[in-house]
């Protein structure tokens, strides 16, 4: 057998390469069975980064479906409530470049909370059915009111209200939530410009 191969170089080349191919193919096939991967937990990790407003502005009925779509290769810049910080976080997780927010799906606005003007509420429960996180308290023909702490500001309740009595109010910053802001940098500095920041007394 070996003599046949050493004499016939073409045959030797063919046999050896095909043989190698078959050998490696077999080994890999066996390895594929042994190292079978079940599911893709990346969807869970993506869902954790999304803001959970379930508002639908990305075009998907909730945050989990959008996370699934991103795992399948969708663009990561469709979430306005998450804003640029969420896009950056997703980009970091997937190790891709972070694009800017896709304007088609909405702009990043300051967080708002829904507020029902109780004088005008007729108790129709349409907003209660619309709220994706059950943040509206009430029942048929009884007063409806928004639990401000649970409201995510998705504004899905504004449309269904037949008397248009829901306002989206911006969250006001009070002394408890105040945080230091980052110092401003001054560029194009020359040594003699020292009359910059000057705090005046009232």
């Amino acid at each position: 057998m070996i003599e046949l191969l050493t004499e016939n170089i073409m045959l030797a080349a063919l046999v050896s390469l095909v043989g190698l191919g078959v050998l490696f193919g077999g080994l890999l096939g066996y390895a594929a069975e042994k190292f079978k991967v079940e599911s893709d937990p990346i969807v869970e990790k993506l869902d954790e980064l999304l803001p959970q407003t379930q508002c639908g502005q990305c075009g998907f009925p909730g945050c989990k479906p959008y996370a699934q779509s991103i795992a399948d290769g969708d663009a990561i810049n469709k979430c306005p409530p998450g804003g640029q910080s969420t896009i950056n976080a997703i980009a970091k997780l997937l190790d891709v470049a972070a694009p800017s927010l896709d304007e088609e799906h909405g702009e990043e606005e300051i967080r708002t909370v829904a507020f029902i003007r109780e004088d005008e509420c007729i108790g129709c429960t349409k907003c209660i059915q619309a709220c994706p996180v059950d943040a509206i308290l009430g029942a048929a023909k009884l007063m409806h009111t928004v639990i401000a702490r649970e409201c995510t500001g998705c504004d899905l309740c504004v449309e269904p209200c037949p008397v248009d009595c829901i306002d989206m109010l911006p969250i006001e910053e009070d002394i408890e939530q105040w945080r230091w802001s980052i110092p401003k940098k001054q560029h194009r500095l020359i040594a003699t410009s020292s009359s910059a920041v000057h705090e005046t007394l009232t």
């Binding site: 996180v133 059950d134 995510t152 230091w180 110092p183 410009s193 920041v197 007394l201």
Partner: protein, 569 residues
């Protein structure tokens, strides 16, 4: 000679303490109005328990604690409550918070005081309750409610009580003068604290060696007691809790933990004094020693200031010259913050009001690029890497910031002090800490929202399933009805029986009708009232409208009465 350890880093800024030590503790005239914020410390705001117009006595409680992390507020002088509203408070943000304003009557009528000189017979919980009731918070700067701190520490069996008399920040001399004049009372306070902590094995007083008179006063006062006064080398910031514990005992507090986790408690000497007054004399915390100093004030001295005194009142008594002052600082030059106006009032944590002249603390030089010299790392007392923290804070890399232990930074300002490029490093760290805390809070609320959303899905699914089951059941019965040989009359009878069964019992019906009747009667009354108003207003159209609605309501009432009678029969 007791063994001492040396903390890494640290700086030696010029002390500037002699100016305010020439005179003893002074007393001010009573200001006309005192403004007391309801939150003067780390923790939750207190709740007012007085109303506008109430007459209050000196030391009377005007706001009660709203929980464990809250301290009550007491009236600093007798007078009248003139306002309870949002006022600007002494806070770096310059924002407003709820305050109580007391207009003084100049009489200084105290409430009846009940001291407990025999506190040793009370249980530690009872004594700590007295401390909490007196509104004592940490007077060294952070202002944590003292009773909560001591209670929390007691549960972890404290081995060493350390009294912090270091006062390492330049210009501030409040603790120094308090010790010189009232050392005996401070020692009594330390005794009370030891009792609350179930008698720790040892008690140390840490004091910097730039205060020889105070050291002598303390040593004299605790001659016969088991308290050791330890003089430590002068360095900023050896007064930080973690740093002082390390200097005196060589033990480090692990990252993210409290001193009580390693069996230590650190209490400021001024707080010990306040605790003595609270427990032994029965006096709530209504005043503190504050240093008023700086080149723009002609007089520099310490005062016993009533909490709520406007800063302008302090400055007037010290002959303040506004145009000489570069900026007004509450606290010291390293960790204090600028005040936007002098109408803000002194709070429980105000150690010092600093009014420096333009040459003492000149305007900030503008920030220049970092030259990576590494002086900041040499100066950091917490062995952090300020330069790396700066770069990551700039590029907002929060992961790396936390990996470099950003939250172990005590914000002492030593790194900013030594930076040759005048970079305000501490501001970068504070802003990053705020952003990280905000994103943590956002994550928590997002997780909650997700939970609620998922539960809602489950609820809707369940409702859908229940409907499916009903639908199936109905289909089966209609199938049965179709297949069985029953005439139309039978089917109708069966339907009637089902309807009757579903009808509510007579009692339930009666109750429902009674409720409807009441509602109808109420609506009738309302309609009648509106009619009266319409008559008053004189508009004929409105009158006609209201007549009609009154008629409607009356008819409804009659209808409901009739149905009720039917059911009763």
């Amino acid at each position: 000679m007791r063994q001492l350890w040396e903390t890494p880093g640290g700086v030696h800024p010029p002390e500037n303490k002699v100016q305010s030590l020439k005179l003893g503790i002074g007393h001010l005239t009573i200001p006309q109005k005192l403004i007391l914020p309801l939150v003067q410390h780390i923790g939750d705001a207190a709740i007012p328990c007085v109303a506008i117009g109430d007459v209050v006595l000196k030391g009377q409680k005007i706001a009660s604690a709203s929980g464990d992390l809250s301290a009550p507020v007491h009236a600093p002088t007798s007078g009248v409550i003139s306002a309870i509203e949002d006022r600007p408070v002494a806070h770096p943000s310059g924002m407003s918070a709820l305050c109580i304003e007391v207009t003084s009557d100049g009489e200084e009528h105290w409430i009846d005081l009940h001291g407990h000189a025999e506190y040793k017979q009370l249980s530690p919980q009872e004594v700590s309750h007295l401390i909490a009731d007196a509104g004592v918070t940490g007077l060294g700067g952070a202002g944590f409610p003292s009773a909560a701190k001591l209670d929390n520490s007691r549960t972890r069996s404290i081995d060493t009580l350390i009294i912090n008399a270091t006062e390492c920040e330049p210009y501030i001399t409040a603790d120094d003068i308090l010790i010189r004049e009232r050392a005996a009372e401070i020692i009594q306070g330390i005794d009370v604290i030891s009792h609350v902590l179930d008698m720790p094995r040892r008690v140390l007083i840490g004091i910097e060696n730039n205060k020889p008179e105070a050291i002598d006063a303390l040593r004299e006062a605790c001659k016969s007691m088991a308290i050791e006064v330890v003089a430590i080398p002068t360095k900023y910031p050896s007064g930080g809790e973690k740093q002082l514990i390390y200097i005196l005992t060589g033990q480090e507090i692990p990252s993210g933990q409290l001193p009580s986790d390693i069996g230590m408690v650190c209490v400021n000497s001024g707080t010990a004094f306040a605790i003595k007054r609270a427990v032994i004399d029965g006096q709530p915390l209504i005043s503190r020693i504050t240093t008023v100093t700086g080149g723009a004030c002609r007089i520099n001295r310490n005062y016993e200031v009533l909490i709520g005194t406007p800063v302008s009142h302090l400055l007037e008594e010290n002959k303040f010259i506004r145009k000489n002052c570069s900026r007004l600082i509450m606290g010291g030059p390293m960790m204090g913050f600028s005040l936007g106006s002098s109408d803000l009032s002194v709070v429980k944590t105000t150690t010092c009001i600093l009014a420096p002249s333009h040459s003492e603390i000149p305007e900030e030089d503008p920030q220049q690029p970092c030259i990576r010299c590494g002086l900041c790392a040499e100066a950091c007392p917490a062995s952090l890497l300020p330069q790396q923290l700066y770069w990551y804070a700039q590029s907002e890399d929060y992961e790396r910031l936390q990996a470099h232990n950003l939250f172990d930074c005590i914000e002492c300002g030593a790194c900013s002090y030594v930076c040759p490029s005048n970079i305000p490093l501490v501001q970068y760290y504070r802003s990053s800490k705020g952003n990280i805390i905000n994103s943590r809070n956002t994550k928590i609320s997002a997780a909650k929202a997700r939970e609620r959303f998922e539960f809602r899905q489950v609820r809707l699914d369940k409702a859908e399933q229940a409907r499916e089951v009903k639908r199936k059941a109905r289909r089966i019965t209609t199938e049965k009805a179709k297949t069985s040989n029953s005439s139309a009359a039978d089917i109708i009878n069966a339907a009637n029986l089902r309807a009757k069964a579903r009808q509510a019992s007579p009692d339930q019906q009666k109750a429902k009708l009674e409720r409807t009747l009441m509602a109808a009667k109420m609506r009738l009354e309302e309609a009648q009232e509106r009619l009266v108003e319409a008559i008053k207003s004189g508009s004929a159209e409105q009158q006609a409208q209201q007549h009609a609605s009154v008629e409607d309501a009356r008819q409804k009432v009659e209808q409901t009465k009739r149905r009720l009678e039917e059911v009763i029969q």
